[in-house]
Symmetry: C2
Subunit: 438 residues, 2 copies
């Protein structure tokens, strides 16, 4: 267990490494990622041995009711999973270097050139729960983007995290990455101390339960990239094809109910309620879904559980859905903007006008038209890798890939240009000519 | 004076307006900006009358030593200034609409199209001190970017702010902007209450003293765009042309010492110290600058004031500069990363290698090579309008134009696409084909 001084030392080292990493060439970072993949493959036996120890302790905790079975399953690592981690690192290695990319060039005046280049953010803090694959995944992203990182993993996977981290760290150092480019702390107690180090960290990325993410957001002055709740809603508009609507609702609710982009609410356009509710509720129940409904729903399907006001903003993460009838598309959008969590919401419709109104007024990071909310995901969006899904509107929003780990820097190159020459009655005018070649 | 309930009502109205503004067409916002410019021109007499009342009260405060003369001068408004405000609104009106711009398109699979479009952030809170031109300037930017805004101005310009605000607000409403698209509160007491409304505001933009900005940053959970300190440094590298170096140092220090992009520190590369320090210090003193120096500087120019450790991180905003001698470019960059405020720093050099090392490792939003730090400014960078200069690395960084007031939204359009079809042993593969035309 790291005490506060050790933690500050680790973060301070990370801060220094971040400044050095800015200037480490893309080739060195690419080589390091390849070396990390190789090292993981060579370390399969020791990683699995460490994981077995974590799994044995977790098994005891599950048996005595202190750990959920889902958590137990998430922490298991086998040779296939390790191979998957290695492949992930290799596919990041071969992506174009995202650092130093010219985003804007402008000739401010003769010989005075403005350039905006992408650059790393600095030191990231990643706080995650049982999944040990967070370590190779996020370390791959941070090395690729030239950021330094400090990981804080869960106690239940401590041995596995340490084994994977050590393999990757040694491979990185051997490839020329600076000391402290990544760090690892383990215990719950360290989280508070980590969150207080706002002079060291530039960004926190929590990955885990809504409760944990909310705790991070409420206890630090450092910006946080992520989302606490995923209260997603699907609206079945009057012109929707009923069969398609039911299929989409089932996919969005049932296919994987424990994830953030599954729906919690269904809204039914008033003219559609009488015809679609009976088959919709029947189909949901057939898949084991508990259906709650407002008064208008009860009038059509009398035996639904009555939804209370609190139901509309709850992330069940389970086979439960709440259904309400709304007057029209504008009312659906207003409902979502009031009760939702700005994550992902969907409309099923055959009206282009309704689709435009809905996607224009729903204030969420992803809006789906005739597609399942479950598509909201960095891999499905084709970003190659996902840092997380952000429901904040400042910096990256929605599923976030590598670009969420970058900021930019302006560089002005002149040959003795003075601002005094551009002021006063004889002021020179700026050219502001862009784009400039080269 | 607004009490808490009134304030919450104003912010709630702003939040509702923000949701409506998202869908207000660019043409309506353009017309509104033109109408605001016209209305300002027609209201010159009443604005000047209101300003005279503020000015009289301020004059009394200056005479009794309760207000600085600089503050008094900043609050004065005349017909020329009002014409400048009107021209500013017109030039924003004719810029291309920044809302709804397609930033990314990808065909995820046959018939499943991902689009990322720019969209407004929502409700902005703008807290500013005496300058009444903040109202038309920021209202122009928020209307152009389809955001709603609540202004909190300083007491000393309350009558002027109210007069300008009312003229602009009426013109906006008459042009079809939604009720509450902008709001104004006046007293100091309201700031705390405003900062606490984290369920209403998406972003705060403080414009004023470092003390005020720091107060905002430390007292809200809402993201803040801005900078508290501008501790900028210029490094004179060994290969620098001495005459050019001295001219640049003078421009960066003397041309307008009260602004954030003026320099507070000068670093001298060791081999240059003996020759450049005597003429440099003489030239600075000739312009009335107090020169402080470290021990190495004292050895060359014995009569400088000895700089203490605290000097290196102070924003003097005045004719004072601290000079230190450093071993090389890497030491200069390390000094700046330790003592600076990540705003703007400069190198004067004839070595491309030194320029590259410096701009690669200095962790600031703008880096100048052979140009004055004073160029770091949205207008000089050609952004058309400036929201402020951000020293944060999350979201917009450096001088921030209209794009800092925008976020984006992902829209996925399908025809009944289910995630279930992309999972399991018979999973469909994604195409991820981009770019797509249209």
């Amino acid at each position: 267990m790291a005490d506060i001084d050790e933690l500050r030392e680790l973060a301070g080292q990370g801060r220094r490494a971040a400044l050095i990493l800015q200037a480490v060439p893309g080739g060195v970072r690419e080589t390091a990622l390849m070396a990390m993949a190789d090292a993981l493959r060579r370390a399969v036996p020791e990683i699995i041995a460490a994981n077995r120890e974590d799994a044995d302790a977790a098994r005891t905790a599950v048996d005595s009711g202190q750990m959920r079975d889902a958590l137990y399953k998430r922490l298991l690592v086998d040779a296939d999973k390790i191979e998957g981690m290695a492949i992930g690192l290799e596919s990041l290695a071969v992506l174009p270097d995202p650092v130093g990319v010219v985003q804007l060039r402008c000739e401010l005046d003769e010989g005075l050139l403005l350039t905006r280049r992408s650059c790393p953010i600095g030191l990231l803090g990643v706080i995650f729960e049982s999944r040990p694959d967070a370590v190779p995944q996020i370390m791959g992203l941070t090395v690729k983007s030239a950021n330094a990182v400090v990981f804080k993993g869960g106690k239940e996977a401590a041995r596995t995290n340490r084994a994977i981290f050590t393999v990757l760290y040694r491979a990185g150092i051997a490839s020329g990455l600076p000391e402290g480019f990544a760090g690892l702390v383990e215990t719950r107690r360290d989280v508070e101390a980590l969150l207080a180090l706002d002079d060291c960290f530039d960004l926190f990325i929590p990955r885990g339960s809504a409760e944990m993410v909310r705790h991070v957001m409420e206890n630090t002055r450092v910006p946080v990239l992520g989302h606490a709740d995923g209260v997603c809603t699907m609206f079945l508009e009057r012109s929707a094809d009923p069969d398609q609507a039911i299929r989409l609702a089932l996919d969005a609710k049932v296919q994987y109910p424990a994830v953030c982009n599954a729906i919690e609410n269904l809204l039914i356009d008033e003219p559609l309620a009488g015809t679609i509710l009976p088959p919709l509720v029947a189909a949901l129940r057939e898949q084991g879904v508990e259906v709650r409904g407002d008064a208008a729903v009860s009038r059509v399907v009398p035996d639904v559980v009555v939804a209370t006001d609190a139901d509309w903003s709850i992330e069940y993460n389970d086979l439960v859905v709440s259904i309400a009838v709304v007057a029209d598309t504008a009312a659906a959008a207003a409902f979502i903007n009031r009760h939702g969590s700005r994550h992902t919401d969907a409309i099923v419709t055959c009206s282009a006008e309704a689709a435009r109104l809905f996607s224009g007024t729903v204030d969420s990071s992803s809006v789906m038209v005739n597609a399942s909310t479950r598509f909201a995901d960095g891999f499905r969006y084709g970003f190659g890798a996902e840092v997380g899904v952000s429901t904040g509107k400042i910096h990256a929003r929605g599923p976030v890939g590598l670009e969420g780990l970058l900021t930019y820097k302006y560089i002005v190159e002149g040959n003795g240009h003075l601002v005094a020459d551009y002021c006063g009655p004889q002021a020179r005018a700026f050219l502001h000519r862009r784009p400039v070649d080269g």
